[in-house]
């Protein structure tokens, strides 16, 4: 495995400081309300827009820093106080990254500046009711018609879809060789035959809406297909998603750190048996374990992100990114669970913020796919693929 020594530049430290301060002063006071009401936080979106963060991981020609490490730090710092606000960034970056990887010049010119500035919002949709991790099982079809395609099918859990100006939708096309390939289509809001269903009331990640999508012969012009027919565009996007996997890990690190922050404050201020409960060794050791694991997750995440920044890709990056994601998401869940326990009965009451971390961590575990896939990737990098039988 390559050694990536990373250190933060002056600029990166300054960005971290800025975001930490903004998160504490402007975002933290809103976090509980966003979760409780499950209302899209327009003010948080405006804040991120004003800070110019929507192109942060991408090239400076779009106003970004070109650094995935910087992006991870941003997500972590926001995630410490408000998972949903961090998520707004990630959702925007996912749409941007997909177009950046697989869009043609016209599509990029049409949509990337707006995404970077926050004038436009995007969403990304693969998942269907009967195909979660099994992407090849999707049933949404794009049928070739003159000048474009007709889209038919349904999607679930499309995050940001009720507010997005366009959704990148994965659908199957039958090629001239009669074989199916999966392609991505830019589906604009308001396209006839395209309906965004009712927002789901969710157990966690409540601030960014998820909705089902319905396609009833919606016409998509040729110019909105990403990449050539045959699936090359889709594969490029999947590769881009793999490269951005450290950001998922950073979401988890932020959650874990935020849970620790809240726990420290609670332990110091809560008294029982005549002393602050921060004095009790059992609880001190619990917190020490939480901090240790979170720091380990953080380092794995930063290392994976810095490998991306150093231009490492493919097999070598895949293992490092998988380690970061797998470890960090498991740590976030353990830490959030322990934090609820540390709070006692207050931990399960909606009057205290900590159960929000537990619910959000649980959602991350469910939606980001099983960590078994991550383990496969790591094992493959060490042992090669299993022999075919």
């Amino acid at each position: 495995m390559s050694q990536a020594d990373y250190s933060f530049s002056e600029d990166q430290l300054a960005i971290r400081e800025l975001i930490r301060r903004v998160a504490r002063e402007k975002v933290a006071p809103r976090a509980d309300e966003i979760d409780r009401t499950a209302e899209y936080p327009h003010d948080m979106f405006a804040l991120l827009k004003d800070l110019g963060l929507f192109a942060l991981p991408f090239s400076s020609s779009y106003g970004g820093t070109g650094s995935l490490l910087t992006a991870c730090v941003a997500v972590e710092e926001f995630g410490r106080v408000c998972y949903n606000t961090g998520y707004l960034l990630v959702v925007q970056w996912t749409a941007f990254g997909a177009l950046y990887a697989a869009g043609n010049e016209e599509q990029k010119e049409r949509l990337l500046p707006g995404l970077a500035s926050g004038e436009l919002r995007g969403a990304f949709s693969i998942t269907e009711a009967h195909s979660g991790s099994d992407v090849s099982g999707i049933k949404t079809r794009a049928e070739r018609v003159p000048a474009g395609y007709r889209l038919t099918g349904a999607k679930i859990w499309c995050t940001n879809s009720d507010i997005a100006d366009f959704v990148l939708v994965a659908a199957k096309c039958k090629g001239s060789d009669d074989r199916d390939s999966i392609n991505l289509f830019i589906v604009e809001k308001g396209t006839p035959g395209f309906t965004v269903g009712r927002k789901e009331d969710k157990m966690g990640a409540r601030g960014v809406p998820s909705c089902p999508l319905f396609f009833d012969g919606a016409f998509i012009p040729e110019a909105n297909r990403m990449g050539p027919e045959g699936g090359a565009g889709f594969r490029l996007v999947m590769e881009a998603l793999n490269t951005s996997r450290p950001v998922v890990a950073a979401r988890a690190v932020g959650l874990a750190q935020g849970a620790i922050d809240h726990s420290v404050e609670f332990l110091k201020n809560r008294n029982a048996f005549g002393r602050p409960i921060a004095d009790f060794q059992g609880l001190r050791w619990m917190l020490a374990d939480m901090a240790m694991r979170t720091e380990a997750a953080r380092q794995l995440t930063y290392r994976a992100a810095s490998l991306v920044d150093a231009g490492v890709a493919g097999r070598e990056l895949a293992a490092a990114a998988a380690m970061a994601k797998c470890f960090a998401s498991d740590v976030a869940m353990q830490v959030a669970t322990d934090a609820v326990q540390l709070f006692g009965a207050a931990g399960i009451s909606n009057e205290y913020p900590i159960n929000r971390y537990f619910r959000d961590a649980k959602v991350v575990q469910i939606i980001e796919g099983t960590n078994q896939v991550q383990r496969n990737i790591i094992a493959n990098s060490l042992l090669g693929r299993e022999s075919k039988r």
Binding site: Q341, I348, S349, N350
Partner: protein, 399 residues
């Protein structure tokens, strides 16, 4: 040590199983199967059915409505109830205030309260914890001053579950602020219709209203509703807390959940095959079933010990509480992983059984996340698992 059931115990189990099969109303069973929350009326209806059979309070002293069953039969009954699946009779009534009244109440109090407690005509809630007194319960500050033929109470209680449904409250108050804290506490029975009581709902992380905050302002309780002697309330409370601990492993509940997870997994597809055929899933289930079996054997061992039927609670019951709560949480977690995406939606009307699920094809999944989240409380209430560790260390290991 022979842990196998005798022939008589096996036939008792059949009798109990048959009773639950026939006497448990189908709508209540259906709600229990789906993990939906039961209403006050449903719980009262079911407890009345048990009461009419003479089985609502099997562990009570026989002269006050107990069945006189051996500890093994008590265990069998409880497990069959969980496996039915049927709701437990209200724990505050049957496991807490009932036995405490039997042990320390006057004959008049027992006659007045116990039948109503057993039938659930009187619904009791527990007014113990306060904002500044959870694990450190003895530091409670709700005050009661003696006035005329009763007490006048001022103070606040917290995490008073079901107070919004309750008729009565068993309450710990401070009657002597100058005494050592465990020695200035009195145990009272408070009518929830008394003027001066305000119940404020607290919503928990599952979005449900189960627990409350109680504000008490100049609330009058007659002296005839005091349990035992003034300033001896802590002793009676300790008795109750010891009782609470031993019924709390709920092995049957966890078994039922694992059974359900296996059944659901056979119907959920994962990469073209039922999840029940997935190696990872099978390993998880096996590991959990091994732990459950170990807990079950431990529980059987404790109840078979000579003296198990005596009144003094065994500190080793802390093992059952700790491990039982951890396994309950592991079982709900397993269910959550089986349900996957379909568990993420929050349908509050369906959770309460007030409406059919908005998406019927996955209605079985919709209660799984709220119940998993709610189950976080079992490692916290009834003496947190941290407190249980202290008890084991001091009273069992002698450290």
């Amino acid at each position: 040590m022979d842990l196998r059931f005798t022939a008589e115990e096996l036939s008792f189990r059949e009798e109990v199983r048959e009773f639950f099969r026939t006497a448990l109303p189908a709508p209540i069973r259906a709600k229990c199967m789906l993990g939906q929350r039961l209403t006050r009326e449903e719980l009262k209806r079911w407890q009345r059915i048990l009461y009419d059979k003479g089985w609502a309070t099997p562990a009570w002293a026989p002269e006050w409505g107990g069945t006189g069953w051996s500890p093994v039969k008590q265990y069998i009954f409880k497990e069959e109830l969980h496996l039915a699946p049927a709701p437990e009779p209200l724990s505050f009534n049957v496991n807490m205030i009932g036995p405490t009244l039997i042990a320390f109440g006057t004959t008049e109090q027992k006659q007045r309260f116990l039948p109503n407690i057993a039938s659930l005509d009187y619904w009791f809630c527990q007014g113990f914890s306060e904002p500044g007194a959870g694990s450190d319960l003895a530091s409670l500050r709700t005050q009661a001053r003696r006035e005329g033929d009763g007490y006048v109470i001022n103070g606040q209680k917290l995490w008073t579950s079901t107070a919004h449904l309750a008729d009565w409250c068993f309450l710990l108050v401070r009657t002597d602020p100058r005494a050592k804290k465990q020695q200035g506490i009195t145990y009272l029975l408070m009518d929830m219709k008394t003027p001066g009581i305000t119940v404020r709902p607290i919503i928990t992380l599952d979005g449900h209203h189960e627990t409350n905050e109680l504000f008490l302002e100049e609330v009058r309780v007659p002296i005839t509703n005091r349990l035992g002697e003034e300033n001896r309330g802590w002793d009676y409370a300790k008795y109750l807390l010891g009782q609470e601990r031993s019924g709390i492993a709920r092995v049957g509940v966890s078994k039922m959940r694992v059974r359900r997870a296996k059944d659901l997994a056979s119907r959920v597809m994962c990469e073209g095959r039922p999840l029940s055929e997935d190696a990872q899933f099978r390993e998880r289930v096996a590991a959990l079933e091994v732990e459950l079996k170990a807990l079950e054997v431990t529980q059987m061992r404790l109840i078979s010990e000579p003296g198990a039927a005596s009144k003094a609670p065994d500190p080793k019951a802390s093992i059952l509480k700790m491990k039982g709560s951890e396994l309950q949480q592991a079982a709900t977690q397993l269910l959550l992983e089986v349900a996957g995406y379909d568990a993420l939606e929050y349908d509050r009307e369906f959770l309460r059984g007030e409406a059919a699920a908005a998406r019927m094809e996955c209605d079985w999944a919709l209660t799984i996340a709220p119940n998993h989240y709610w189950t976080r409380h079992v490692s916290i209430v009834g003496g947190s698992n941290e407190i249980q560790r202290n008890i084991l260390a001091k009273q069992v290991l002698g450290l």
